[in-house]
């Protein structure tokens, strides 16, 4: 366990290099041709403009907050803070987490824990933080990472950018490879050093906790497994082929209980009351079988919120590969339908 000892909260000003977090780039030529262009809105200017709309009493409250925050030092240097600074910094944090601008100053009293985790694994195919001690809402995890740097670099934290702008850990895991590839654009190579900064963001107040700083050398998947990395057994959209009939897929086998956990949107196909998820890789042998789960329509058509039951076949086939078939059984068949919750496995 790694834990950084600090209890003070802080607010962070995100510099322009983190703008991707607000407005992800559209790289697809098709998207650009279709007229879907990136609209650049400088969030700091927007927040600044909002400050001018505050009432006198609201400004006074921000002044009081700024006075409290003045005394908090970070890296040993006392922070200079005006009401406007506090307003912009707190609200830029809130916008980062998808929240609206806070007009009333929050209380300065805040106790946000440091991020505690077991291990970070960096391979060309995996970027995952494991064993994160979960925090409930409104705390969300912010992860900053650098591109792969030379292993000789001793301090690369100034080169980190926000990869996750406020996520909930996935049962102790934060698998950020997809986000990393979107922001950084390329995976680290074996031997590269990746720098990370992690902290909890209180999405209500805009305050953040103390940062945990770490760095990892990228190793091969085989080396990671030899050192104890165990890949979690779950199927997501990253693991299924594009011709599948599901628009969302989260099939989690890591229950250690007599059920599989489903969260899948079935689209149906070819006038058959079932949907297939064709898998890129084989299912583990002990996950082969049949399951039965509850489902509900998603608000389209007749009986749009109908409860249903689905039988689910999990199989590896030498004929047509590995797949998960979601077949309607009870209730009125609706498309699309969300199959969710625990499914008994037999």
């Amino acid at each position: 366990m790694k834990e950084l000892p600090t209890e003070c909260c802080r607010i962070v000003l995100f510099v322009i290099k983190d703008i991707e977090a607000w407005c992800p780039p559209i790289r697809s030529k098709t998207a650009i041709r279709s007229g879907l262009k990136r609209e650049f809105i400088d969030p700091l200017s927007k927040i600044s403009r909002e400050y001018k709309q505050l009432s006198d009493s609201q400004m006074q409250a921000w002044e009081v907050l700024a006075n409290h925050l003045k005394g908090i030092s970070y890296f040993g240097k006392a922070a200079e803070m005006t009401a406007h600074n506090a307003f912009v910094r707190i609200n830029s944090n809130r916008l980062l987490a998808g929240k609206s601008i806070l007009m009333d100053a929050p209380s300065h009293i805040s106790n946000i824990p440091a991020v505690v985790y077991d291990e970070i694994w960096v391979t060309p195919s995996d970027l995952i933080i494991k064993g994160i001690v979960h925090q409930n809402d409104p705390l969300r995890l912010v992860i900053k990472m650098s591109a792969g740097l030379s292993a000789g670099v001793s301090s690369g934290w100034s080169k980190t950018v926000i990869v996750s702008a406020g996520i909930e850990d996935d049962w102790g895991d934060a698998n950020v490879r997809g986000r990393y590839m979107k922001v950084v654009g390329f995976a680290p190579a074996v031997g590269d050093k990746v720098f990370l900064e992690l902290y909890w963001l209180n999405t209500e107040t805009g305050f953040v906790g103390a940062s945990a700083f770490d760095s990892k050398i990228c190793i091969t998947s085989e080396e990671a497994e030899a050192e104890g990395y165990v890949k979690r057994n779950k199927i997501t959209m990253d693991d299924i082929k594009p011709d599948s009939h599901v628009s969302e897929c989260d099939v989690d086998f890591s229950t250690g209980a007599p059920v599989i956990s489903f969260d899948t949107v079935c689209l149906g196909h070819s006038n058959v009351a079932s949907s297939e998820a064709y898998l890129e890789d084989e299912l583990p042998a002990d996950c082969i079988g049949t399951s039965m789960a509850l489902a509900r329509g998603m608000g389209e058509g007749n009986a749009c919120f109908a409860a249903q039951s689905y039988i689910i076949w999990l199989r590896n086939s030498s004929w047509d590969g590995s797949s998960i078939t979601f077949a309607h059984r009870g209730g009125y068949y609706v498309k699309p339908t969300e199959v969710f919750g625990p499914g008994i496995l037999y």
Partner: protein
């Protein structure tokens, strides 16, 4: 068995039948609430407060929400009772959450059936495989017919039940129904929601009828009016706690 210590939506004390393992819990409860209650109207998520559970949070599971909607005419009652599935999860050791599904708040009292297994995720090991047991629904005079997905998966302290209705002999369609569930444990006693049937007055969902399982006998006093409509296949889906002497590990 335990009682809730409170809730945020104005319901009374809720009694739970439970089986609590180290990495999952099975909970059974049936309760009602009044959607006109101010407490209910003021919350986004329904929360039930309970004594310490064995797990400190869970993945999402399913519960059933049901309501009554009946139209009384001179010679008969047109039963448009309806229901659907809602999401439920354990937020922390002392809080069970339910999705607030407001579409039927104008129907009066809402009944919730929690017959759910709440799993944890990222646990060591893959799922444990159970054994499917076919339930043979027998009657002295056979008038009920069931589909092939009428089965259970039996564990020491709880059982998963799925029943699929196929058809009923015409002359028995309005009678109370009863069948012996051969193959199903006899130590389960529960009201179970039977979801399905065309619901003309509430077309966004299907019908709801109440069934009961006790001592290995299945009963259902009455069905909603569109119960046997083609394509609306009524089904029961429930994780049910068995009445053992000690169901906590």
């Amino acid at each position: 068995m335990f009682n809730s210590t409170g809730n945020n939506f104005g319901a009374g004390t809720i009694q739970f039948k439970d089986y609590q393992a180290e990495n999952y819990v099975v909970l059974n409860a049936k309760f009602t609430y009044d959607p006109t209650n101010a407490a209910y109207q003021g919350v986004d998520t329904l929360e039930i407060y309970v004594p310490d559970l064995s797990i400190n949070r869970s993945a999402v599971a399913g519960a059933i929400l049901a309501f009554q909607d009946r139209y009384v005419y001179s010679s008969y009652t047109w039963n448009n009772d309806g229901g659907t599935a809602i999401k439920t999860w354990i937020k922390d050791k002392n809080t069970i959450c339910l999705e607030k599904f407001t579409n039927f708040d104008d129907k009066g009292e809402i009944t919730i059936f929690i017959q759910a297994l709440y799993p944890m995720l990222n646990q060591p090991g893959n799922p444990i495989k159970g054994t499917r047991t076919r339930i043979n629904m027998t009657q002295e005079t056979r008038y009920l017919y069931w589909d092939s997905e009428t089965f259970c998966v039996i564990f020491d302290h709880w059982v998963f039940l799925h029943i699929g209705f196929s058809s009923c002999s015409y002359s028995y369609r309005n009678q109370p129904w009863e069948a012996v569930m051969e193959g199903f444990p006899t130590d389960v006693c529960a009201d179970v929601p039977w979801i399905g049937g065309s619901n003309q007055y509430n077309p966004s969902v299907t019908g709801y009828s109440l069934a009961h399982v006790e001592n290995g006998v299945f009963t259902c006093q009455e069905r909603m009016s569109g119960f046997d409509s083609t394509g609306y296949d009524p089904f029961i889906f429930a994780f049910l706690v068995r009445d053992g002497e000690n169901n906590s590990e």
